[in-house]
Protein backbone atom coordinates (compact mmCIF):
# COMPACT_ATOMS: atom_id res chain seq x y z
CA UNK A 1 0.00 0.00 0.00
CA UNK A 2 1.09 3.47 -0.76
CA UNK A 3 -0.10 5.69 1.97
CA UNK A 4 1.04 4.51 5.37
CA UNK A 5 -1.63 6.15 7.44
CA UNK A 6 -4.33 4.57 5.39
CA UNK A 7 -2.68 1.28 4.74
CA UNK A 8 -3.23 0.28 8.34
CA UNK A 9 -6.91 0.62 7.95
CA UNK A 10 -7.08 -0.72 4.41
CA UNK A 11 -9.53 -3.58 4.12
CA UNK A 12 -7.16 -5.60 1.97
CA UNK A 13 -4.42 -5.31 4.53
CA UNK A 14 -6.66 -6.00 7.51
CA UNK A 15 -6.85 -9.60 8.70
CA UNK A 16 -10.11 -10.66 7.17
CA UNK A 17 -11.25 -13.20 9.69
CA UNK A 18 -14.90 -13.97 9.86
CA UNK A 19 -16.71 -12.27 12.65
CA UNK A 20 -14.20 -9.52 13.03
CA UNK A 21 -15.59 -6.08 12.55
CA UNK A 22 -13.84 -4.30 9.71
CA UNK A 23 -13.43 -0.59 9.65
CA UNK A 24 -13.69 1.76 6.73
CA UNK A 25 -10.51 3.36 5.40
CA UNK A 26 -9.73 6.43 7.37
CA UNK A 27 -11.09 9.43 5.62
CA UNK A 28 -9.23 12.69 5.48
CA UNK A 29 -10.75 15.30 3.21
CA UNK A 30 -8.19 16.94 0.97
CA UNK A 31 -10.17 19.83 -0.38
CA UNK A 32 -12.22 22.58 0.98
CA UNK A 33 -15.55 20.98 1.58
CA UNK A 34 -17.94 21.22 -1.31
CA UNK A 35 -21.67 21.70 -0.80
CA UNK A 36 -23.71 18.55 -0.86
CA UNK A 37 -25.99 19.77 -3.60
CA UNK A 38 -24.43 19.75 -7.05
CA UNK A 39 -24.32 23.35 -8.18
CA UNK A 40 -23.35 23.66 -11.80
CA UNK A 41 -23.39 20.24 -13.45
CA UNK A 42 -21.15 19.34 -16.36
CA UNK A 43 -23.05 16.10 -16.99
CA UNK A 44 -26.63 15.31 -16.25
CA UNK A 45 -27.22 11.59 -16.48
CA UNK A 46 -30.87 10.63 -16.58
CA UNK A 47 -32.02 7.00 -16.29
CA UNK A 48 -29.23 5.71 -18.48
CA UNK A 49 -29.17 1.99 -19.24
CA UNK A 50 -26.59 0.19 -21.34
CA UNK A 51 -26.81 -3.19 -23.04
CA UNK A 52 -24.23 -5.13 -24.98
CA UNK A 53 -25.72 -7.21 -27.75
CA UNK A 54 -29.09 -7.14 -25.99
CA UNK A 55 -27.71 -8.23 -22.61
CA UNK A 56 -28.19 -5.47 -20.06
CA UNK A 57 -24.98 -4.22 -18.43
CA UNK A 58 -26.05 -1.12 -16.58
CA UNK A 59 -29.47 -0.24 -15.29
CA UNK A 60 -31.12 3.15 -15.02
CA UNK A 61 -28.36 5.34 -13.68
CA UNK A 62 -29.13 8.93 -12.83
CA UNK A 63 -26.54 11.33 -11.47
CA UNK A 64 -25.43 14.92 -11.79
CA UNK A 65 -21.71 15.31 -12.21
CA UNK A 66 -20.48 18.67 -10.95
CA UNK A 67 -18.24 21.07 -12.77
CA UNK A 68 -14.67 21.49 -11.59
CA UNK A 69 -14.73 18.66 -9.09
CA UNK A 70 -13.37 15.14 -9.02
CA UNK A 71 -16.01 12.46 -9.14
CA UNK A 72 -15.00 8.88 -8.46
CA UNK A 73 -16.89 5.83 -9.70
CA UNK A 74 -16.15 2.80 -7.54
CA UNK A 75 -17.49 -0.71 -7.18
CA UNK A 76 -16.68 -4.36 -7.73
CA UNK A 77 -15.70 -5.82 -11.12
CA UNK A 78 -18.51 -5.92 -13.62
CA UNK A 79 -20.57 -3.29 -11.85
CA UNK A 80 -20.67 -1.09 -14.93
CA UNK A 81 -18.52 1.79 -13.67
CA UNK A 82 -16.29 1.75 -16.76
CA UNK A 83 -19.36 1.36 -18.92
CA UNK A 84 -20.83 4.46 -17.30
CA UNK A 85 -17.62 6.37 -17.88
CA UNK A 86 -17.50 5.38 -21.54
CA UNK A 87 -21.06 6.61 -22.02
CA UNK A 88 -19.96 10.11 -21.12
CA UNK A 89 -17.86 10.56 -24.26
CA UNK A 90 -19.63 8.03 -26.46
CA UNK A 91 -16.73 5.58 -26.48
CA UNK A 92 -19.33 2.84 -26.20
CA UNK A 93 -20.32 3.64 -29.78
CA UNK A 94 -17.14 1.86 -30.86
CA UNK A 95 -18.22 -1.45 -29.35
CA UNK A 96 -20.29 -3.63 -31.63
CA UNK A 97 -23.79 -4.17 -30.34
CA UNK A 98 -23.64 -1.61 -27.54
CA UNK A 99 -26.80 0.38 -27.02
CA UNK A 100 -27.37 3.26 -24.66
CA UNK A 101 -30.81 4.43 -23.58
CA UNK A 102 -31.76 7.33 -21.38
CA UNK A 103 -30.35 10.79 -21.65
CA UNK A 104 -26.97 12.34 -20.99
CA UNK A 105 -26.58 16.07 -21.29
CA UNK A 106 -23.27 17.87 -21.35
CA UNK A 107 -23.71 21.51 -20.34
CA UNK A 108 -27.36 21.02 -21.12
CA UNK A 109 -26.80 19.54 -24.57
CA UNK A 110 -27.90 15.97 -25.27
CA UNK A 111 -24.73 14.19 -26.44
CA UNK A 112 -26.74 11.32 -27.91
CA UNK A 113 -28.93 13.59 -30.03
CA UNK A 114 -29.10 12.55 -33.64
CA UNK A 115 -27.22 15.49 -35.11
CA UNK A 116 -24.36 15.27 -32.61
CA UNK A 117 -20.98 14.23 -33.98
CA UNK A 118 -19.37 11.73 -31.58
CA UNK A 119 -15.91 12.88 -32.69
CA UNK A 120 -16.76 16.40 -31.58
CA UNK A 121 -18.00 15.08 -28.22
CA UNK A 122 -14.74 13.21 -27.70
CA UNK A 123 -12.71 16.25 -28.61
CA UNK A 124 -14.29 18.24 -25.80
CA UNK A 125 -14.27 15.40 -23.31
CA UNK A 126 -10.77 14.00 -22.96
CA UNK A 127 -10.05 10.45 -21.92
CA UNK A 128 -7.17 8.70 -20.20
CA UNK A 129 -7.09 4.94 -20.36
CA UNK A 130 -6.20 2.17 -17.96
CA UNK A 131 -2.97 1.25 -19.68
CA UNK A 132 -0.75 4.13 -20.79
CA UNK A 133 -1.17 4.19 -24.56
CA UNK A 134 1.08 6.80 -26.14
CA UNK A 135 1.33 6.57 -29.92
CA UNK A 136 4.46 5.11 -31.48
CA UNK A 137 5.80 8.58 -32.17
CA UNK A 138 7.87 11.23 -30.46
CA UNK A 139 6.81 12.85 -27.20
CA UNK A 140 6.20 16.08 -29.07
CA UNK A 141 4.10 14.42 -31.77
CA UNK A 142 2.05 12.59 -29.18
CA UNK A 143 1.01 15.85 -27.55
CA UNK A 144 0.62 17.63 -30.89
CA UNK A 145 -1.53 14.83 -32.32
CA UNK A 146 -4.86 16.19 -31.10
CA UNK A 147 -4.25 19.86 -31.91
CA UNK A 148 -3.03 18.92 -35.41
CA UNK A 149 -6.07 16.71 -35.88
CA UNK A 150 -8.40 19.58 -35.18
CA UNK A 151 -6.54 22.27 -37.04
CA UNK A 152 -5.24 24.00 -33.91
CA UNK A 153 -1.90 24.49 -35.58
CA UNK A 154 -1.01 28.01 -34.47
CA UNK A 155 1.63 28.17 -31.75
CA UNK A 156 1.89 24.41 -31.71
CA UNK A 157 5.13 24.52 -29.73
CA UNK A 158 3.45 26.63 -27.06
CA UNK A 159 0.48 24.32 -26.91
CA UNK A 160 2.71 21.31 -26.48
CA UNK A 161 4.73 22.99 -23.75
CA UNK A 162 1.62 24.18 -21.96
CA UNK A 163 0.06 20.73 -22.05
CA UNK A 164 3.24 19.06 -20.82
CA UNK A 165 3.54 21.62 -18.04
CA UNK A 166 -0.10 21.06 -17.21
CA UNK A 167 0.59 17.36 -16.89
CA UNK A 168 3.66 18.03 -14.69
CA UNK A 169 5.90 16.35 -17.24
CA UNK A 170 7.64 19.29 -18.88
CA UNK A 171 10.72 19.38 -16.67
CA UNK A 172 11.34 15.69 -17.21
CA UNK A 173 11.04 15.70 -21.00
CA UNK A 174 11.86 19.21 -22.20
CA UNK A 175 15.30 18.12 -23.42
CA UNK A 176 14.10 15.05 -25.26
CA UNK A 177 10.88 16.00 -26.98
CA UNK A 178 11.95 14.04 -30.04
CA UNK A 179 12.39 10.79 -28.16
CA UNK A 180 9.75 8.13 -28.58
CA UNK A 181 6.86 8.32 -26.15
CA UNK A 182 7.38 4.64 -25.44
CA UNK A 183 10.85 5.34 -24.09
CA UNK A 184 9.36 6.96 -20.98
CA UNK A 185 8.59 5.11 -17.78
CA UNK A 186 5.04 3.86 -17.21
CA UNK A 187 4.10 6.75 -14.95
CA UNK A 188 5.61 9.29 -17.34
CA UNK A 189 3.75 7.64 -20.22
CA UNK A 190 0.48 8.04 -18.35
CA UNK A 191 1.23 11.70 -17.68
CA UNK A 192 2.09 12.02 -21.37
CA UNK A 193 -1.37 10.64 -22.14
CA UNK A 194 -2.87 13.21 -19.78
CA UNK A 195 -0.85 15.93 -21.53
CA UNK A 196 -2.11 14.61 -24.84
CA UNK A 197 -5.68 14.86 -23.55
CA UNK A 198 -5.36 18.37 -22.13
CA UNK A 199 -3.59 19.65 -25.25
CA UNK A 200 -7.04 19.69 -26.80
CA UNK A 201 -8.24 22.03 -24.06
CA UNK A 202 -11.17 19.87 -23.01
CA UNK A 203 -13.20 20.85 -19.98
CA UNK A 204 -13.71 17.31 -18.77
CA UNK A 205 -11.18 14.51 -18.40
CA UNK A 206 -12.44 10.97 -18.02
CA UNK A 207 -9.97 8.58 -16.41
CA UNK A 208 -10.47 4.85 -16.57
CA UNK A 209 -8.39 3.42 -13.72
CA UNK A 210 -5.46 5.61 -14.76
CA UNK A 211 -3.10 4.34 -12.07
CA UNK A 212 -3.95 0.66 -12.01
CA UNK A 213 -0.97 -0.28 -14.20
CA UNK A 214 1.47 1.93 -12.32
CA UNK A 215 3.82 1.54 -9.38
CA UNK A 216 3.01 3.33 -6.08
CA UNK A 217 5.32 6.30 -6.66
CA UNK A 218 3.89 6.94 -10.13
CA UNK A 219 0.41 6.51 -8.72
CA UNK A 220 1.05 9.27 -6.20
CA UNK A 221 2.38 11.51 -8.98
CA UNK A 222 -0.81 10.97 -10.96
CA UNK A 223 -2.93 11.71 -7.90
CA UNK A 224 -0.99 14.90 -7.21
CA UNK A 225 -1.55 15.89 -10.80
CA UNK A 226 -5.27 15.24 -10.52
CA UNK A 227 -5.46 17.53 -7.51
CA UNK A 228 -3.66 20.16 -9.52
CA UNK A 229 -6.04 19.78 -12.45
CA UNK A 230 -9.11 19.93 -10.23
CA UNK A 231 -11.00 23.14 -10.68
CA UNK A 232 -9.71 23.86 -14.15
CA UNK A 233 -11.10 20.57 -15.38
CA UNK A 234 -13.96 18.42 -14.26
CA UNK A 235 -12.58 14.95 -13.67
CA UNK A 236 -14.47 11.69 -13.59
CA UNK A 237 -12.33 8.77 -12.49
CA UNK A 238 -13.07 5.07 -12.35
CA UNK A 239 -10.98 3.35 -9.75
CA UNK A 240 -10.65 -0.04 -8.16
CA UNK A 241 -8.72 1.47 -5.35
CA UNK A 242 -11.00 2.77 -2.63
CA UNK A 243 -8.20 4.58 -0.83
CA UNK A 244 -7.54 6.43 -4.04
CA UNK A 245 -11.16 7.47 -4.29
CA UNK A 246 -11.10 8.58 -0.66
CA UNK A 247 -7.85 10.50 -1.15
CA UNK A 248 -8.69 12.48 -4.23
CA UNK A 249 -12.37 12.69 -4.99
CA UNK A 250 -15.02 15.17 -3.93
CA UNK A 251 -17.88 12.85 -4.69
CA UNK A 252 -18.11 9.13 -4.95
CA UNK A 253 -20.60 6.99 -6.80
CA UNK A 254 -20.79 3.39 -5.67
CA UNK A 255 -21.94 0.85 -8.22
CA UNK A 256 -22.66 -2.81 -7.62
CA UNK A 257 -23.68 -5.91 -9.53
CA UNK A 258 -27.16 -7.22 -9.19
CA UNK A 259 -28.51 -10.51 -10.44
CA UNK A 260 -31.59 -9.89 -12.50
CA UNK A 261 -33.26 -12.90 -14.08
CA UNK A 262 -29.95 -14.72 -14.18
CA UNK A 263 -28.09 -11.79 -15.74
CA UNK A 264 -25.53 -9.67 -13.94
CA UNK A 265 -26.52 -6.04 -14.22
CA UNK A 266 -24.67 -3.06 -12.83
CA UNK A 267 -26.50 -0.42 -10.87
CA UNK A 268 -25.77 2.77 -9.02
CA UNK A 269 -26.31 2.25 -5.32
CA UNK A 270 -25.19 5.46 -3.75
CA UNK A 271 -23.84 8.77 -4.93
CA UNK A 272 -22.83 11.39 -2.44
CA UNK A 273 -20.00 13.45 -1.09
CA UNK A 274 -16.98 11.20 -0.73
CA UNK A 275 -16.81 11.95 2.97
CA UNK A 276 -20.38 10.81 3.44
CA UNK A 277 -19.96 7.67 1.37
CA UNK A 278 -16.87 6.62 3.29
CA UNK A 279 -17.95 7.52 6.80
CA UNK A 280 -21.69 7.41 6.84
CA UNK A 281 -22.97 5.37 3.93
CA UNK A 282 -26.71 5.27 3.74
CA UNK A 283 -26.87 1.93 1.96
CA UNK A 284 -25.81 -1.30 3.65
CA UNK A 285 -24.16 -2.55 0.44
CA UNK A 286 -21.95 0.50 0.20
CA UNK A 287 -20.78 0.07 3.75
CA UNK A 288 -20.11 -3.62 3.22
CA UNK A 289 -18.02 -2.92 0.16
CA UNK A 290 -16.10 -0.08 1.71
CA UNK A 291 -15.30 -2.03 4.84
CA UNK A 292 -14.09 -4.88 2.69
CA UNK A 293 -16.80 -7.42 3.28
CA UNK A 294 -17.13 -8.09 -0.42
CA UNK A 295 -15.70 -6.99 -3.75
Amino acid sequence: MVDNTQAQAAPTAAPAQTGQTNTAPEFTPRHTTVPREVGEAVFDVETVSVAYGGAPALKEVSMRIPKGEITALIGPSGCGKSTMLRCLNRMNDLIDGASVSGRITYHGEDIYAEDVDPAEVRRRIGMVFQKPNPFAMSIYDNVAFGPKLHGMKSNLDDRVEKALRGAALWDEVKDKLNDQGHALSGGQQQRLCIARAIALEPDVILMDEPASALDPISTLAIEDLMRKLRGQYSIVIVTHNMQQAARISDRTAFFTVDMEQGVRVGELVEYDLTETVFTNASDQRTESYITGRFG
Partner: protein, 340 residues
Amino acid sequence: MATDTGQRPASAPSSLRSSGPSRYADPLFRAIAFTAGASVLVILGLMIGTTTRDALPVFEYQGLVSFFTSDEWRAGFSRTEFTGEYGAFSFIYGTVVTSLLAVAVALPLAIAVSLYINRLAPKRLKRPLAYTVELLAAIPSVVYGLWGLLFFAPTFIRPVMELLNRTLEPVPILGRLFAGPVFTTSYFTAGMVLAVMILPIITAITREVMAQVPRDQVDAAYGMGATDFEVMTKVIIRTSFPGIVGATMLGLGRALGETIAVAMLVGGSQRWGLSLFFGGDSMAGHIANTFQDAAPETVLALIAVGVGLFVITVIVNVLARLLVWRIGRVAGDAALRRRP
Protein backbone atom coordinates in the same frame (compact mmCIF):
# COMPACT_ATOMS: atom_id res chain seq x y z
CA MET B 1 8.09 -37.80 1.42
CA ALA B 2 6.65 -38.66 4.77
CA THR B 3 6.91 -42.40 4.27
CA ASP B 4 10.49 -42.34 2.98
CA THR B 5 12.48 -44.89 4.89
CA GLY B 6 15.72 -44.28 3.01
CA GLN B 7 15.35 -47.53 1.09
CA ARG B 8 15.44 -47.31 -2.72
CA PRO B 9 13.18 -49.45 -4.84
CA ALA B 10 15.24 -52.20 -6.45
CA SER B 11 14.19 -51.34 -9.96
CA ALA B 12 15.25 -47.69 -9.84
CA PRO B 13 18.64 -47.73 -11.60
CA SER B 14 17.54 -49.72 -14.63
CA SER B 15 14.39 -47.66 -15.15
CA LEU B 16 16.53 -44.61 -15.80
CA ARG B 17 18.06 -46.11 -18.94
CA SER B 18 16.14 -45.79 -22.15
CA SER B 19 15.26 -49.13 -23.65
CA GLY B 20 13.62 -50.54 -26.73
CA PRO B 21 13.34 -48.87 -30.14
CA SER B 22 12.59 -45.46 -28.63
CA ARG B 23 16.26 -45.03 -27.81
CA TYR B 24 16.99 -44.65 -31.53
CA ALA B 25 14.06 -42.33 -32.23
CA ASP B 26 15.75 -39.07 -31.33
CA PRO B 27 18.99 -39.58 -33.27
CA LEU B 28 17.01 -40.89 -36.25
CA PHE B 29 14.69 -37.93 -36.24
CA ARG B 30 17.65 -35.63 -35.89
CA ALA B 31 19.25 -37.18 -38.96
CA ILE B 32 16.08 -36.89 -41.04
CA ALA B 33 15.56 -33.29 -40.05
CA PHE B 34 19.18 -32.48 -40.83
CA THR B 35 18.91 -34.09 -44.27
CA ALA B 36 15.77 -32.15 -45.05
CA GLY B 37 17.37 -28.90 -43.99
CA ALA B 38 20.56 -29.58 -45.88
CA SER B 39 18.76 -30.61 -49.06
CA VAL B 40 17.29 -27.12 -49.39
CA LEU B 41 20.79 -25.70 -49.47
CA VAL B 42 21.99 -28.42 -51.84
CA ILE B 43 19.16 -27.79 -54.30
CA LEU B 44 19.74 -24.04 -54.22
CA GLY B 45 23.47 -24.56 -54.66
CA LEU B 46 22.94 -26.90 -57.62
CA MET B 47 20.58 -24.48 -59.26
CA ILE B 48 22.91 -21.53 -58.91
CA GLY B 49 25.90 -23.66 -59.92
CA THR B 50 24.52 -25.21 -63.10
CA THR B 51 22.74 -22.13 -64.43
CA THR B 52 25.75 -19.93 -63.77
CA ARG B 53 28.00 -22.52 -65.45
CA ASP B 54 25.82 -22.35 -68.57
CA ALA B 55 25.45 -18.59 -68.45
CA LEU B 56 29.11 -17.71 -67.96
CA PRO B 57 30.15 -18.32 -71.59
CA VAL B 58 27.32 -16.02 -72.70
CA PHE B 59 28.46 -13.27 -70.35
CA GLU B 60 32.00 -13.76 -71.66
CA TYR B 61 30.90 -13.66 -75.27
CA GLN B 62 28.58 -10.67 -74.92
CA GLY B 63 30.34 -8.89 -72.11
CA LEU B 64 28.60 -8.57 -68.74
CA VAL B 65 27.86 -4.86 -69.03
CA SER B 66 26.65 -5.18 -72.59
CA PHE B 67 24.40 -8.07 -71.61
CA PHE B 68 22.55 -5.86 -69.13
CA THR B 69 22.66 -2.56 -71.05
CA SER B 70 22.45 -3.38 -74.76
CA ASP B 71 19.01 -3.69 -76.30
CA GLU B 72 20.32 -5.61 -79.31
CA TRP B 73 19.00 -9.17 -79.12
CA ARG B 74 19.46 -11.36 -82.19
CA ALA B 75 19.17 -15.09 -81.65
CA GLY B 76 21.90 -17.17 -83.29
CA PHE B 77 21.46 -20.66 -84.73
CA SER B 78 24.78 -22.34 -84.08
CA ARG B 79 25.28 -25.61 -82.22
CA THR B 80 28.95 -25.04 -81.47
CA GLU B 81 29.74 -21.35 -81.14
CA PHE B 82 28.19 -17.99 -80.38
CA THR B 83 27.06 -16.05 -83.46
CA GLY B 84 24.10 -13.96 -82.20
CA GLU B 85 23.77 -10.72 -80.31
CA TYR B 86 22.61 -10.99 -76.69
CA GLY B 87 21.79 -7.67 -75.10
CA ALA B 88 18.91 -8.26 -72.67
CA PHE B 89 18.04 -4.66 -71.77
CA SER B 90 14.68 -4.72 -73.59
CA PHE B 91 13.52 -7.64 -71.46
CA ILE B 92 14.91 -6.20 -68.24
CA TYR B 93 13.07 -2.97 -68.96
CA GLY B 94 9.87 -4.91 -69.65
CA THR B 95 10.18 -6.86 -66.41
CA VAL B 96 10.85 -3.79 -64.29
CA VAL B 97 8.17 -1.63 -65.90
CA THR B 98 5.39 -4.23 -65.74
CA SER B 99 6.24 -5.08 -62.13
CA LEU B 100 6.41 -1.48 -60.91
CA LEU B 101 3.16 -0.74 -62.69
CA ALA B 102 1.55 -3.74 -61.03
CA VAL B 103 2.72 -2.63 -57.58
CA ALA B 104 1.65 0.97 -58.19
CA VAL B 105 -1.87 -0.19 -58.96
CA ALA B 106 -2.14 -3.07 -56.49
CA LEU B 107 -0.75 -1.31 -53.39
CA PRO B 108 -3.40 1.40 -52.98
CA LEU B 109 -6.07 -1.17 -53.77
CA ALA B 110 -4.68 -3.59 -51.21
CA ILE B 111 -4.57 -0.89 -48.53
CA ALA B 112 -8.14 0.12 -49.29
CA VAL B 113 -9.35 -3.48 -49.26
CA SER B 114 -7.53 -4.18 -45.99
CA LEU B 115 -8.95 -1.08 -44.33
CA TYR B 116 -12.40 -2.03 -45.49
CA ILE B 117 -12.10 -5.58 -44.21
CA ASN B 118 -10.55 -4.52 -40.92
CA ARG B 119 -12.47 -1.40 -40.02
CA LEU B 120 -15.51 -0.78 -42.15
CA ALA B 121 -17.07 -3.99 -43.41
CA PRO B 122 -20.06 -5.41 -41.53
CA LYS B 123 -18.95 -8.26 -39.30
CA ARG B 124 -20.55 -11.03 -41.35
CA LEU B 125 -18.89 -9.75 -44.52
CA LYS B 126 -15.34 -9.64 -43.17
CA ARG B 127 -14.38 -13.29 -43.39
CA PRO B 128 -16.00 -14.05 -46.76
CA LEU B 129 -14.40 -10.98 -48.25
CA ALA B 130 -10.93 -11.78 -46.90
CA TYR B 131 -11.32 -15.33 -48.14
CA THR B 132 -12.42 -14.21 -51.59
CA VAL B 133 -9.45 -11.91 -51.99
CA GLU B 134 -7.13 -14.71 -51.02
CA LEU B 135 -8.87 -17.01 -53.48
CA LEU B 136 -7.56 -14.77 -56.26
CA ALA B 137 -4.13 -16.16 -55.46
CA ALA B 138 -5.32 -19.68 -56.15
CA ILE B 139 -6.16 -19.03 -59.80
CA PRO B 140 -3.44 -20.47 -62.08
CA SER B 141 -1.53 -17.76 -63.86
CA VAL B 142 -2.24 -19.23 -67.31
CA VAL B 143 -5.92 -18.60 -66.58
CA TYR B 144 -5.08 -15.01 -65.76
CA GLY B 145 -3.24 -14.82 -69.05
CA LEU B 146 -6.16 -16.18 -71.06
CA TRP B 147 -8.73 -14.11 -69.23
CA GLY B 148 -6.59 -11.01 -69.66
CA LEU B 149 -6.02 -11.67 -73.35
CA LEU B 150 -9.58 -12.54 -74.27
CA PHE B 151 -11.63 -10.40 -71.94
CA PHE B 152 -9.90 -8.00 -69.56
CA ALA B 153 -7.56 -6.39 -72.10
CA PRO B 154 -9.99 -5.70 -74.97
CA THR B 155 -13.01 -4.65 -72.89
CA PHE B 156 -11.44 -2.87 -69.95
CA ILE B 157 -7.75 -2.13 -70.28
CA ARG B 158 -7.83 -1.00 -73.90
CA PRO B 159 -10.36 1.81 -73.31
CA VAL B 160 -8.41 2.92 -70.22
CA MET B 161 -5.20 2.99 -72.26
CA GLU B 162 -6.84 5.05 -74.97
CA LEU B 163 -8.21 7.49 -72.42
CA LEU B 164 -4.82 7.87 -70.73
CA ASN B 165 -3.16 8.23 -74.12
CA ARG B 166 -5.53 11.01 -75.17
CA THR B 167 -5.39 12.94 -71.92
CA LEU B 168 -1.78 12.49 -70.82
CA GLU B 169 0.27 12.31 -74.02
CA PRO B 170 0.30 16.13 -74.43
CA VAL B 171 1.81 16.55 -70.94
CA PRO B 172 5.53 17.29 -71.24
CA ILE B 173 7.98 14.57 -70.11
CA LEU B 174 5.31 12.49 -68.32
CA GLY B 175 3.48 12.24 -71.62
CA ARG B 176 6.24 10.07 -73.06
CA LEU B 177 5.12 7.22 -70.77
CA PHE B 178 1.67 7.42 -72.29
CA ALA B 179 2.64 7.95 -75.92
CA GLY B 180 0.86 6.03 -78.68
CA PRO B 181 0.39 3.91 -80.63
CA VAL B 182 -1.66 1.86 -78.20
CA PHE B 183 -1.20 -1.90 -78.42
CA THR B 184 -3.75 -4.20 -76.81
CA THR B 185 -0.92 -6.39 -75.54
CA SER B 186 1.59 -4.12 -73.92
CA TYR B 187 3.53 -3.38 -70.74
CA PHE B 188 0.41 -1.68 -69.44
CA THR B 189 -1.83 -4.67 -70.13
CA ALA B 190 0.58 -7.08 -68.49
CA GLY B 191 1.02 -4.69 -65.55
CA MET B 192 -2.72 -4.45 -64.93
CA VAL B 193 -3.23 -8.21 -64.94
CA LEU B 194 -0.15 -8.59 -62.72
CA ALA B 195 -1.74 -6.08 -60.36
CA VAL B 196 -4.74 -8.36 -59.97
CA MET B 197 -2.42 -11.32 -59.46
CA ILE B 198 -0.36 -9.72 -56.69
CA LEU B 199 -3.31 -8.03 -55.01
CA PRO B 200 -4.09 -11.07 -52.81
CA ILE B 201 -0.50 -11.34 -51.56
CA ILE B 202 -0.22 -7.70 -50.61
CA THR B 203 -3.73 -7.66 -49.17
CA ALA B 204 -3.24 -10.78 -47.05
CA ILE B 205 -0.19 -9.37 -45.29
CA THR B 206 -1.47 -5.80 -45.07
CA ARG B 207 -4.73 -7.01 -43.59
CA GLU B 208 -2.84 -9.09 -41.07
CA VAL B 209 -0.53 -6.30 -39.90
CA MET B 210 -3.44 -3.88 -39.69
CA ALA B 211 -5.30 -6.34 -37.51
CA GLN B 212 -2.28 -6.34 -35.18
CA VAL B 213 -2.47 -2.61 -34.48
CA PRO B 214 -3.15 -2.49 -30.74
CA ARG B 215 -6.69 -1.65 -29.79
CA ASP B 216 -5.50 0.92 -27.25
CA GLN B 217 -3.83 2.97 -29.98
CA VAL B 218 -7.07 3.07 -31.90
CA ASP B 219 -9.05 3.97 -28.77
CA ALA B 220 -6.58 6.73 -27.95
CA ALA B 221 -7.16 8.36 -31.33
CA TYR B 222 -10.93 8.02 -31.13
CA GLY B 223 -10.77 9.39 -27.59
CA MET B 224 -9.25 12.57 -28.96
CA GLY B 225 -12.05 13.05 -31.42
CA ALA B 226 -10.50 11.45 -34.47
CA THR B 227 -12.91 10.37 -37.21
CA ASP B 228 -12.82 6.87 -38.73
CA PHE B 229 -10.81 8.23 -41.63
CA GLU B 230 -8.30 9.92 -39.34
CA VAL B 231 -7.92 6.80 -37.25
CA MET B 232 -7.23 4.80 -40.40
CA THR B 233 -4.71 7.17 -41.94
CA LYS B 234 -2.96 8.47 -38.84
CA VAL B 235 -2.95 5.38 -36.68
CA ILE B 236 -3.67 2.18 -38.60
CA ILE B 237 -1.65 2.82 -41.76
CA ARG B 238 1.09 4.60 -39.86
CA THR B 239 1.52 1.84 -37.33
CA SER B 240 1.44 -0.95 -39.88
CA PHE B 241 3.74 0.83 -42.32
CA PRO B 242 6.75 -1.52 -42.01
CA GLY B 243 4.48 -4.49 -42.65
CA ILE B 244 2.96 -2.81 -45.68
CA VAL B 245 6.44 -2.18 -47.09
CA GLY B 246 7.28 -5.86 -46.61
CA ALA B 247 4.03 -6.91 -48.28
CA THR B 248 4.75 -4.64 -51.22
CA MET B 249 8.20 -6.10 -51.71
CA LEU B 250 6.80 -9.60 -51.61
CA GLY B 251 4.26 -8.62 -54.26
CA LEU B 252 7.01 -7.04 -56.33
CA GLY B 253 9.04 -10.23 -56.12
CA ARG B 254 6.09 -12.22 -57.37
CA ALA B 255 5.48 -9.77 -60.22
CA LEU B 256 9.12 -9.83 -61.33
CA GLY B 257 9.13 -13.59 -61.65
CA GLU B 258 5.66 -14.09 -63.10
CA THR B 259 6.05 -15.78 -66.45
CA ILE B 260 3.17 -17.16 -68.39
CA ALA B 261 0.52 -14.47 -67.88
CA VAL B 262 3.06 -11.79 -68.76
CA ALA B 263 4.32 -13.77 -71.75
CA MET B 264 0.77 -13.84 -73.10
CA LEU B 265 0.02 -10.17 -72.49
CA VAL B 266 3.17 -8.13 -72.78
CA GLY B 267 3.44 -8.03 -76.55
CA GLY B 268 6.28 -10.39 -77.35
CA SER B 269 8.52 -8.17 -79.46
CA GLN B 270 12.26 -8.02 -78.94
CA ARG B 271 12.31 -4.22 -78.85
CA TRP B 272 11.51 -1.90 -76.03
CA GLY B 273 9.78 1.44 -75.85
CA LEU B 274 9.55 4.08 -73.17
CA SER B 275 5.77 4.22 -73.51
CA LEU B 276 3.72 1.97 -71.24
CA PHE B 277 1.54 1.18 -74.24
CA PHE B 278 4.43 -0.37 -76.15
CA GLY B 279 4.31 -4.10 -76.75
CA GLY B 280 7.69 -5.40 -75.52
CA ASP B 281 8.74 -8.46 -73.61
CA SER B 282 9.84 -9.35 -70.08
CA MET B 283 12.77 -11.55 -69.05
CA ALA B 284 10.63 -14.46 -67.91
CA GLY B 285 8.21 -13.89 -70.76
CA HIS B 286 10.93 -13.98 -73.38
CA ILE B 287 12.36 -17.21 -72.01
CA ALA B 288 8.93 -18.85 -72.08
CA ASN B 289 8.08 -17.50 -75.55
CA THR B 290 11.28 -18.52 -77.35
CA PHE B 291 12.80 -21.41 -75.41
CA GLN B 292 11.06 -24.12 -77.45
CA ASP B 293 12.56 -23.20 -80.80
CA ALA B 294 15.90 -21.90 -79.65
CA ALA B 295 19.19 -23.20 -81.02
CA PRO B 296 21.78 -24.40 -78.47
CA GLU B 297 23.67 -21.10 -78.29
CA THR B 298 20.42 -19.18 -77.73
CA VAL B 299 19.36 -21.65 -75.04
CA LEU B 300 22.48 -20.68 -73.16
CA ALA B 301 21.66 -17.02 -73.68
CA LEU B 302 18.15 -17.59 -72.32
CA ILE B 303 19.63 -19.31 -69.29
CA ALA B 304 21.78 -16.23 -68.83
CA VAL B 305 18.61 -14.12 -68.89
CA GLY B 306 17.23 -16.43 -66.21
CA VAL B 307 20.33 -15.87 -64.09
CA GLY B 308 19.94 -12.13 -64.57
CA LEU B 309 16.32 -12.36 -63.41
CA PHE B 310 17.39 -14.37 -60.39
CA VAL B 311 19.95 -11.73 -59.50
CA ILE B 312 17.35 -8.96 -59.79
CA THR B 313 14.83 -10.77 -57.58
CA VAL B 314 17.53 -11.51 -55.00
CA ILE B 315 18.49 -7.82 -54.96
CA VAL B 316 14.84 -6.80 -54.51
CA ASN B 317 14.39 -9.28 -51.68
CA VAL B 318 17.55 -8.16 -49.92
CA LEU B 319 16.50 -4.53 -50.30
CA ALA B 320 13.09 -5.44 -48.89
CA ARG B 321 14.65 -7.11 -45.87
CA LEU B 322 16.97 -4.17 -45.31
CA LEU B 323 14.11 -1.72 -45.63
CA VAL B 324 11.83 -3.56 -43.23
CA TRP B 325 14.68 -4.12 -40.82
CA ARG B 326 15.72 -0.49 -41.08
CA ILE B 327 12.22 0.84 -40.43
CA GLY B 328 11.79 -1.56 -37.56
CA ARG B 329 15.17 -0.62 -36.18
CA VAL B 330 14.49 3.11 -36.34
CA ALA B 331 11.37 2.63 -34.27
CA GLY B 332 13.08 0.11 -31.99
CA ASP B 333 16.17 2.25 -31.52
CA ALA B 334 14.15 5.25 -30.63
CA ALA B 335 12.21 3.21 -28.13
CA LEU B 336 15.38 1.97 -26.49
CA ARG B 337 17.28 5.22 -26.59
CA ARG B 338 17.31 6.89 -23.23
CA ARG B 339 19.16 9.83 -21.92
CA PRO B 340 22.01 8.97 -19.58
